[in-house]
Each structure stands twice: as C-alpha cells, then as structure tokens.
C-alpha cells in the first residue's frame, strides 16, 4: 500500500469523525440514532473504491473499538459494538467495500443513475447486517426488527441521493478509482 492510499484512508476515517459531530436525531422508536455518518460510508466506497473505502471504515471502527468517542453524541467503546446496534457499525466497512466494488465495475459508465444504484446496494448491505444483529442480540423475531428499522428508510433515501450527486461530481473533478472489469 502506498503512503498516499494510507493518507486517503485516514482522511475518510476523519471525515466519519467530523460527520459524527453533526448532532444525531434520536428517534423515539428506532434502535439507533439517525446519523449523517452513513453519508461518509457511501462516499468512502464511491470515491476511494472497494479496498481503500473498506479500509477507511475499518479504521473508523477501530477508533470506536479502542474507545474514542467518535460516534454521534460522543459515544464509543466496546459497549456500543456489543450492544443491539453494533451490527450497523460493523456493517459500515462491508458496505463501503460493496459500494466501492460496484463503483469500480461501473466506472466507465458512472453517472447519477449508476451511482444511485451502487449506493442503494450499499444502504441495503447495512440493513442486511444491522437488522439481523439487533434481532439476535435482543432475541427478537426478524420481522419485528425490520419493522423497527423502517423509520430509517426516508432518511437513508435522502442520504443516498446526496452521496450519489457528490460522488459523480468528485469523479469529474478528482477521479481516484481505477476501473475494474
């Protein structure tokens, strides 16, 4: 890995920390606060690609694990990871990797449409890991956990539109991904 890659990975991990400063909206019935940090997850995959994007989020998760207060509301530490919402946080590196992989494949035809598709799959990846995790930790039937998580959908749609618009613009101004076929 080149030093440049390392710096880019650290930059996106730092972007996650900065996004965590934006106050999270606590929804009364949702398992986790509505956070702008998912924007960072999708952007990391869309702009850095699979490997660097995934590593950036892995690095961020490491900051959480070692006890730095980098989650919304100054949360952090192992308690959050082992708690009912830990799956969402652990899903972030996977989601960034998936978004990155799709973006690399579609790099030559990358536009708002394909960007939306990549980011939508990334968002679904977060659900696919986070929801079963909370179902298992809380011994809850899956359908109930899905119901509880439905509150996130509108916010996530807005977030993935924002990310797609920005990703297309950054690709034009400062492309960093090498296409993969």
């Amino acid at each position: 890995m080149r030093s440049k890659d390392l710096a880019q990975i650290a930059l996106f991990a730092a972007l996650m920390v900065v996004l965590g400063f934006i106050p999270a909206v606590e929804l009364p019935l949702a398992p986790a606060p509505l956070t702008s940090q998912t924007v960072g997850v999708l952007l990391a995959g869309s702009i850095l690609g699979a490997r660097r994007g995934g590593l950036a989020l892995l690095l961020f998760d490491l900051l959480v694990v070692v006890g730095l207060p980098v989650l919304p509301g100054g949360r952090g530490g192992l308690g959050v990871i082992l708690g009912p919402t830990g799956g969402f946080i652990l899903a972030w590196p996977v989601a960034a990797f998936v978004v990155g992989l799709l973006t690399e494949r579609l790099w030559h035809r990358y536009n708002l449409g394909t960007a939306l598709a990549c980011n939508a799959v990334g968002t679904l990846t977060i659900y696919a890991i986070g929801i079963p995790w909370s179902a298992v930790v809380a011994h809850l039937p899956a359908w109930r956990a899905i119901e509880v998580s439905a509150v996130y959908v509108p916010g996530d749609i807005i977030k993935l539109i924002i990310c797609s618009v920005v990703a297309v613009r950054v690709r034009r101004a400062y492309p960093l991904i090498e296409a993969r076929t």
Binding site: R2, Q8, L11, V65, V66, P69, I81, G83, R169
Partner: protein, 200 residues
C-alpha cells in the same frame, strides 16, 4: 490521547489490555446463552461491584452506559408483548451485563494500550500483506485530519457565502476535492521522508 479512558491504579487498570479483551469476549458469549434470571442478576451485581473495584465514579459509569438504555427498553417491551415478561427481563439483564462489562474495559484501558493490543491481534494478518505498525500511523493521521477537515469546511462555507450561496449541496464536493488534495500531498511527504523504507 483523548478518549473515554478513566485513569486509575486498580487491579483492573493494571491487567493487560489483551487479557481484558479476551475475557470480555468469553464472558459476553456465555452471558448470551444464559436464561436463568437469578444468574443474570448475579452477573449484573458482579459487573457493578467490578466498577467499585476499578474505582469508577457512578456518574462516569452511568454517562457511559445510558446510550443503550432507550433501545434496550424498546427491545424489552417487544419481548414482553411477543413472548413473556421473563424473556423481557432476561434480555434487559443480558444487555446490561455485557454493555457494563464492555464499557468497564474501555474505561480502565488507555487508548494507546488498546491500539497496541489491536496491533498484536492483527499480527497474523501480516502474511496477507497487512503491516500492523501502519495501523498506529493511520490512527494518528486520522486524528490529525479531523481539525483539518473542520477548518476546510469553514473555508468552503465562507467562500460560498461570499458568492451569495446560502446553502448548497455543492458544499461537499469542493470540501472533498480540497481535502483529498491535501491527503495526497501528505502521502507524498511521507514518501519523501523515506517513511516507507523505515517501516519495513
């Protein structure tokens, strides 16, 4: 380093980070399969007394653990409705024990020790081309980048306001391009100082 660590000299503070992490892993796995409310309540009592041993003030303990309270209550309510009060109590106790213990590890271990433990745990990944010693540098870079991004965000906002743009989605694009350029410059500086070769 700024963190959630609460300094102290108790036996819990002095035991190695790796031991604490492995114990936590083992205990939380066992707790997960416990059904007996009396044993779970005993576990909660034990976790609470460990806080006393570690000399953590109750305020700090509460502040650390309140984040999971609303979601735990929600899950307990669901269990009560769907299964029984017994199941709801078991869930509540289980989450409380695991979260309290996990936070205790976080509170009694300095961030730098945690990083060292993580680097050691990543050791076996060396054969896949990962160099654990780079993890420390990556963490340091991340912490350095946080105020840089915040400052750049302020500058971009200022520039846009000067042009009469009140709020625009276009805000994120210049911020990312600017900071990515800075990151690339920093990567080049690392190479120029021979960091790559010295870390072999």
């Amino acid at each position: 380093m700024l963190g959630l660590h609460h300094p102290g000299h108790s036996p819990l503070h002095r035991s190695p980070a790796g031991v604490k992490l492995l114990t936590l892993l083992a205990v939380s796995t066992v707790v997960f399969f416990l059904e007996d409310l009396r044993i779970l309540a005993g576990g909660l009592l034990l976790a609470g007394s460990l806080y006393a041993v570690a000399g953590i003030p109750w305020r700090t303990a509460v502040r650390q653990s309140t984040a999971v309270v609303p979601v735990t209550l929600l899950f307990m309510a669901a269990q009560w409705v769907l299964v029984s009060w017994h199941a709801a109590a078991a869930i509540g106790l289980r989450i409380a024990v695991v979260v309290l213990l996990a936070n205790l590890v976080t509170l009694t271990t300095p961030t730098s020790d945690m990083i060292t433990a993580v680097e050691r745990a990543l050791g076996p990944l060396r054969r896949f081309g990962l160099r654990p010693e780079r993890v420390g540098l990556a963490i340091a870079l991340t912490i350095r980048f946080v105020p840089v991004i915040a400052e750049q965000a302020r500058l971009v906002r200022q520039a846009q306001r000067a042009r009469g743009v009140r709020f625009s989605l276009a805000f994120l694009t210049p911020l990312l391009v600017r900071t990515l350029r800075m990151a690339d410059g920093l990567g080049e500086a690392l190479d120029a100082r021979g960091w790559e070769s010295s870390a072999q």
